[in-house]
C-alpha cells in the first residue's frame, strides 16, 4: 500500500502523543527518510506538536534547521486552575514562554490549542483566555469544547459526580463567544473548532481529513486513508515494532467504505467546514444528485436557519447556529434515500 501510490505529499505532521521526546536529529532523519521514499513537494508543511515547558530554545532552533516550519502548541488554557483540572503539568508561564521562544526561533506559523467548557470556567475566564491568546498573534487557533470520552478518567469522575459539567446553554454561549471574538480579531473560522489568521495559514494537514484527501499514518494507532480504504495500525508499541521488524505492515484493521459510507462521511465532514459541502464534487465522486436527494430537508433546515447555501449555491454549509447542532443535523441528511 505504501510504495505503490504515486501520491504527491505536501504535508508532514508529527503529532499525537508527545513527538518532542524524540531528539531533533532523529526527527530530522525521519524527514529525510520520508523524502527518500515518497514523492514530497518542496513547499511541504511540516508540523510538530509540542507541549509547553518541554522545549528549549535550542531544540526549537534545531527543529527549524531540520525543516520543520509549523509548530502546534498544546496550551489548553491560560488559567492555572483549569490546567490543574485538566491534569496538565505545565503552567501558564510555561505556555507563554514556549510561544515566545517559538517566535524567537523564527517560526512564522504557530498554532495554539485551547479548551473551553471546563467545570468552573465562566464566560469571563474564557474570554480572558481568548484575549491572552490573541495577544500572541498565533497564525492558527484550535478551540475545542471539552468532551468526555468514554473510558477516560475525566469521564469516570464526571459519572461519579466529582464535578458538575458545564451546562449545555453555557457551552453554547462559549462556542458563540469564541466565534465572535476571534472573527472580530481578524481570524477566519474554517472549521467548527479551527481558526486561521488568513487562508494561507489554515492547517493544510488537518484540512485534508475533511476533504477526503489521502493520507498515510505511521506509528501505533495511526490511521491512513486512500479512498475508499481506511487502515489503522495496532495500538501496542511492542506489536508495532515486532511487525515492522518482521517486515509486515503493522495494520490492525482496514475498512473499505461503501458508497453509502463515503457519502455519510463526506456529508458529515463537509458540514464541519465553513465552506461546507462542495455539491459538484460530491455529485461527481459518488454519481448522485445531491440537490434532488436532499432538496426538501435542506430547504427546511435553511428556513430554520441551520444551513446556508453559499458560493452562489454550489456549496451547502452550516450557519453559526447550525454548527452548534452538527451532530443533530447530519443524521437528518442520512435518511430514507440511503436505504
Amino acid at each position: 500500500m505504501v510504495s505503490s501510490h504515486p501520491l504527491l505529499f505536501d504535508t508532514l505532521y508529527f503529532g499525537g502523543g508527545t513527538p518532542s521526546v524524540l531528539k531533533p536529529e532523529n526527527i530530522g532523519r525521519i524527514i529525510k527518510t520520508a523524502n527518500g521514499l515518497f514523492n514530497i513537494s518542496t513547499d511541504t508543511e511540516i508540523t510538530i506538536e509540542v507541549n509547553p515547558g518541554t522545549v528549549t530554545p535550542e531544540k526549537l532552533t534545531e527543529y527549524k534547521n531540520i525543516g520543520i516550519n509549523r509548530i502546534s502548541i498544546g496550551v489548553q488554557s491560560f488559567n492555572d486552575k483549569i490546567l490543574n483540572f485538566l491534569g496538565r503539568i505545565h503552567s501558564t508561564n510555561d505556555a507563554a514562554l514556549t510561544i515566545r521562544r517559538a517566535r524567537k526561533a523564527g517560526f512564522d506559523n504557530i498554532g495554539i490549542d485551547l479548551i473551553y467548557g471546563i467545570p468552573g470556567q465562566t464566560k469571563k475566564t474564557w474570554l480572558s483566555d481568548l484575549r491572552k491568546v490573541v495577544e500572541f498573534e498565533p497564525e492558527h487557533l484550535s478551540c475545542y469544547m471539552l468532551t468526555y470520552e468514554k473510558g477516560t478518567p475525566l469521564n469516570r469522575e464526571r459519572q461519579q459526580g466529582k464535578f458538575k459539567p458545564v451546562a449545555g446553554s453555557l457551552l453554547a454561549e462559549f462556542f458563540e463567544t469564541t466565534m465572535e471574538y476571534l472573527t472580530a480579531h481578524g481570524y477566519v473560522q474554517y472549521e467548527i473548532s479551527n481558526f486561521a489568521k488568513n487562508a494561507s495559514k489554515i492547517s493544510r494537514h488537518n484540512f485534508k481529513y475533511w476533504i477526503f484527501s489521502p493520507y498515510l499514518g505511521f506509528g501505533p494507532s495511526a490511521h491512513s486513508f486512500i479512498e475508499p480504504r481506511r487502515y489503522w495500525n495496532c495500538r501496542s508499541v511492542k506489536k508495532y515494532i515486532e511487525n515492522i521488524k518482521e517486515g509486515r505492515l503493522p495494520i490492525e484493521k482496514k475498512e473499505i467504505l461503501s458508497k453509502k459510507q463515503r457519502m455519510m462521511e463526506m456529508v458529515y465532514l463537509g458540514l464541519r467546514k465553513t465552506d461546507g459541502i462542495d455539491i459538484d464534487a460530491i455529485n461527481k465522486n459518488l454519481g448522485i444528485n445531491f440537490h434532488q436527494m436532499f432538496a426538501e430537508k435542506i430547504k427546511q433546515l435553511e428556513e430554520d436557519g441551520y444551513i446556508l447555501r453559499i458560493q452562489s449555491g454550489t456549496h451547502c454549509a452550516l450557519s453559526r447556529k447550525g454548527m452548534l447542532f452538527l451532530d443533530s443535523i447530519a443524521p437528518m441528511l442520512m435518511i430514507e434515500n440511503w436505504g
Partner: protein
C-alpha cells in the same frame, strides 16, 4: 363409498362399546404456573405415546416457546394409551385448555368435551382465582373432579393447608386428592389410575346421527384447518359430507384421526372419542369453536348447547415502526389469523403512523400474545395504540353507534349518552391485603363490593367494575400491591352508562392521532398527566423546545415541556475519529427507522409504547 375406505375388519357394536368403556376424556385445570404443562409432559412420557427422542425434540421444544410466552393458547390434545393396574388398556384423551381468563369460552368448550377434570393446585400457593373460576366452569359441565396437589417436593409445600382449602374453598373431598410432584415424576401413576378409576367413561350412541363438538382448531400449512372435535353421537369417516350447524356450511371429510402428538389417521372416529377432522377448510376462521358438526344427509336434531360467537372486547391499532413496513405486517397478520380465529382486524390509518390495522382481541393478554408473536415470529417492530373497550353511544337523534376507536369518536355535542361494558371480578387474596385491594377497586370505579372468607386468612372479593379500568394495567397493579399473592378472574356482565371523554395529545400543537384515548372524564386529568410525563421522558431533546399537552376538545388539561438542546456537536474530528463518528451515524440512521415524525418532532417508538405503560410504584 370407495373401496379404499372400507375398513379392513368390520367394527362390531360390541367392539365400539368396549372401546367407549375404556375411554376417558379429561382436562387439567389449574391456575397459571401451578404445573399443568409439566404434569401433561409427565403423563405423555409415562404412557410412551412417543419415543423419548421425539419427546425431547418436539414436545419440549414447542412447549418451551409456549412456556416462554407463559401461556398455552393452542391446545395440545393427546390420546394416551395406558395399561392400567387392572390389566386393561385405556385410551385417555387429555384435552388441554388455554390457561387464561381471556380464553374462558375456549376453556368451557374444552371442558364440555370431557367427563372429568384434574384440578391441579400448587402445594405452596394454594387455591387461586383461576382455580376457582376453572372449578366453577367444570362444575357447570357436571364434570367429575379429582383434586391434585402438585409440587409436593417444594420445602414450602403445605399439604394439610391445601387440603383444608380443598375442603373449605372448593367444597371437594380432600381425601380424594392425589399428591404429585410433576417435576420429579412423583404420583404420575396415581394420576393415571385416578383418571381410569374415578372418571366415568363417555356415553353416546355410535349408531345415532353424528353430533361432534368443535372445541378447537389449528392451521396446518399442508392440510388447511384441522378441527379438534369431541364426538358425542354417531361416527365420522373420510368421504362423509358434513355440515356446520351454526352456518350450514358444507364440506367433504378428507381425513379423520386422533392426536398422539402427531396426527394419526383412523378409518373412523365415533361417539366418545376425541380426535380431528380435516375437510378442506382453508382458514380456522371458517370454523367456530363450540359449533356442532353433523352429517349433511343424516343430521342430528339439535346442536350441542353453549355455542356462542365470540366477540372481541379489547381493541387497539397496530402499526409497523418502519415506514415501509405495512406490507410485511399485512402478511404476518394474515398468517396469524390462519391460526387464531378470535383475532379480528381491518385496515386502519393514522396521520402520525401511516397504515396499520385496527384489531379486536378477546382480552389484554390476547393482545399481548398477538403483539409478541408478530414481533418474535415475524420479526416486526410495532407501535400499538392505547387499548380500548367497545362503547355504545346513544345519539341525540335517537340513533346508536358502537365505538372502539378514538379516531372515530363523534362530536360530543351529538351524543345523548354513552354506555360501557362492566365486568364481575373475583379477586382472591390473603386478607391482609383487603384494604389495599379495596382502595384499588374504588379507584378503578368498582362498585357493589362483597367479600367472603375462604379460609381463616384468605378471602375472595367480588365486585363490579368497568372493563376499561381492567385493560389499563389493573392486573399488574394488583400483582404489585399484593406482592404477587393476588389472583384475578373476571366475566363480562353488561353495559352501563358512563361519562366518556376523548383525550388528545398534542405535540407542539399537532394532535397525534395515534395517542388519543377514550377515558372516563374523572380519570382524564390523571391519564393526560401520565401520558405527558411518559412522553417527556422518552422523547429526546431536540434543537427546539417541545410542548406536550393533553387536551379534551379545546381544553388543555395537562402540559409538559422538553427544553431545547443547546448544542450537539463533536469538537474534534480527525483521522482516527472519523470511523467512530460514521459508525455512530450508521447507528442513528438505523434508529431513525424507529422514529416517527410529528411535524418537526422526532418521536421514538418507545415513546408511543411508554404511554401505555404505568409506573409501578
Amino acid at each position: 363409498m370407495g373401496k379404499l375406505f372400507r375398513p379392513r375388519s368390520q367394527t362390531t357394536l360390541e367392539h365400539i362399546i368396549f372401546i367407549m368403556k375404556n375411554i376417558r376424556n379429561f382436562s387439567i385445570i389449574a391456575h397459571i404456573d401451578h404445573g399443568k404443562s409439566t404434569l401433561s409432559d409427565r403423563l405423555i412420557q409415562a404412557t410412551n405415546v412417543v419415543s423419548e427422542r421425539i419427546f425431547q425434540d418436539q414436545i419440549l421444544d414447542t412447549m418451551d416457546i409456549e412456556r416462554e410466552r407463559g401461556i398455552t393458547i393452542k391446545s395440545q390434545t393427546v390420546c394416551l394409551p395406558y395399561k392400567a393396574k387392572n390389566g386393561q388398556t385405556y385410551f385417555l384423551n387429555l384435552i388441554d385448555t388455554p390457561g387464561h381468563v381471556d380464553f374462558t369460552y375456549e376453556v368451557s368448550r374444552a371442558l364440555a368435551s370431557c367427563e372429568g377434570a384434574l384440578l391441579l393446585i400448587d402445594a405452596s400457593q394454594g387455591v387461586e382465582a383461576q382455580t376457582m373460576a376453572n372449578l366453577y366452569l367444570a362444575m357447570e359441565h357436571e364434570l367429575e373432579i379429582i383434586p391434585v396437589i402438585n409440587k409436593i417436593d417444594l420445602p414450602s409445600a403445605d399439604i394439610e393447608r391445601i387440603k383444608d382449602q380443598i375442603n373449605d374453598d372448593l367444597g371437594l373431598d380432600p381425601e380424594s386428592a392425589i399428591l404429585t410432584s410433576a417435576k420429579e415424576g412423583i404420583g404420575v401413576e396415581d394420576v393415571l389410575e385416578g383418571v381410569v378409576n374415578k372418571l366415568p367413561p363417555p356415553l353416546g350412541d355410535p349408531g345415532a346421527p353424528l353430533q361432534a363438538l368443535i372445541f378447537d382448531s389449528h392451521y396446518d400449512s399442508y392440510r388447511g384447518t384441522v378441527i379438534h372435535v369431541r364426538i358425542f353421537q354417531g361416527k365420522i369417516k373420510p368421504g362423509d359430507v358434513i355440515t356446520f350447524m351454526s352456518n350450514s356450511a358444507v364440506y367433504k371429510t378428507e381425513e379423520v384421526g386422533i392426536f398422539q402428538i402427531e396426527k394419526v389417521p383412523k378409518k373412523e372416529i365415533s361417539a366418545g372419542q376425541v380426535g380431528y377432522i380435516i375437510a378442506g377448510i382453508k382458514t380456522v376462521s371458517d370454523t367456530q369453536c363450540g359449533d356442532t358438526i353433523t352429517l349433511k344427509n343424516r343430521p342430528c336434531k339439535t346442536p350441542m348447547p353453549g355455542f356462542k360467537i365470540e366477540k372481541p372486547v379489547v381493541f387497539s391499532s397496530i402499526y409497523p415502526v418502519a415506514s415501509d413496513g405495512y406490507e410485511e405486517l399485512a402478511l404476518a397478520m394474515e398468517k396469524l389469523k390462519l391460526n387464531d380465529a378470535s383475532l379480528i382486524y381491518e385496515k386502519d390509518s393514522s396521520v402520525a403512523l401511516g397504515f396499520g390495522f385496527r384489531c379486536g382481541f378477546l382480552g389484554l393478554l390476547h393482545l399481548e400474545v398477538v403483539q409478541e408473536r408478530l414481533e418474535r415470529e415475524y420479526d416486526l417492530s410495532l407501535i400499538l395504540t392505547a387499548p380500548s373497550v367497545r362503547y355504545k353511544l346513544v345519539m341525540q337523534d335517537g340513533s346508536s353507534r358502537i365505538i372502539d376507536n378514538p379516531a372515530l369518536y363523534p362530536d360530543p355535542a351529538g351524543i345523548d349518552k354513552t354506555l360501557e361494558p362492566f365486568i364481575r371480578a373475583s379477586i382472591i387474596i390473603p386478607d391482609r391485603y383487603m384494604g389495599t385491594v379495596m382502595k384499588l377497586c374504588l379507584e378503578r370505579r368498582g362498585i357493589n363490593i362483597t367479600y367472603q372468607y375462604l379460609t381463616n386468612n384468605r378471602m375472595e372479593m367480588i365486585f363490579e367494575l368497568p372493563l376499561a379500568e381492567v385493560i389499563y394495567d389493573f392486573y399488574d397493579k394488583l400483582k404489585s400491591l399484593t406482592q404477587g399473592y393476588g389472583s384475578f378472574d373476571y366475566e363480562i356482565r353488561d353495559y352501563r352508562e358512563t361519562d366518556l371523554a376523548k383525550l388528545d395529545i398534542l405535540i407542539n400543537s399537532d394532535r397525534v392521532d395515534a395517542l388519543s384515548q377514550l377515558v372516563h372524564r374523572d380519570r382524564a386529568v390523571e391519564r393526560a398527566k401520565h401520558a405527558c410525563e411518559k412522553l417527556k421522558d422518552e422523547i429526546p431533546r431536540q434543537m427546539f423546545k417541545i410542548a406536550i399537552q393533553g387536551a379534551i376538545g379545546g381544553n388543555i388539561i395537562a402540559r409538559k415541556t422538553i427544553s431545547a438542546l443547546r448544542k450537539d456537536v463533536t469538537a474534534k474530528c480527525y483521522g482516527g475519529d472519523i470511523t467512530r463518528k460514521r459508525k455512530l451515524l450508521e447507528k442513528q440512521k438505523k434508529g431513525k427507522k424507529r422514529m416517527k415524525m410529528v411535524g418537526k418532532v422526532m418521536i421514538p417508538q418507545s415513546a408511543f409504547l411508554s404511554v401505555l405503560k404505568t409506573d409501578n410504584d
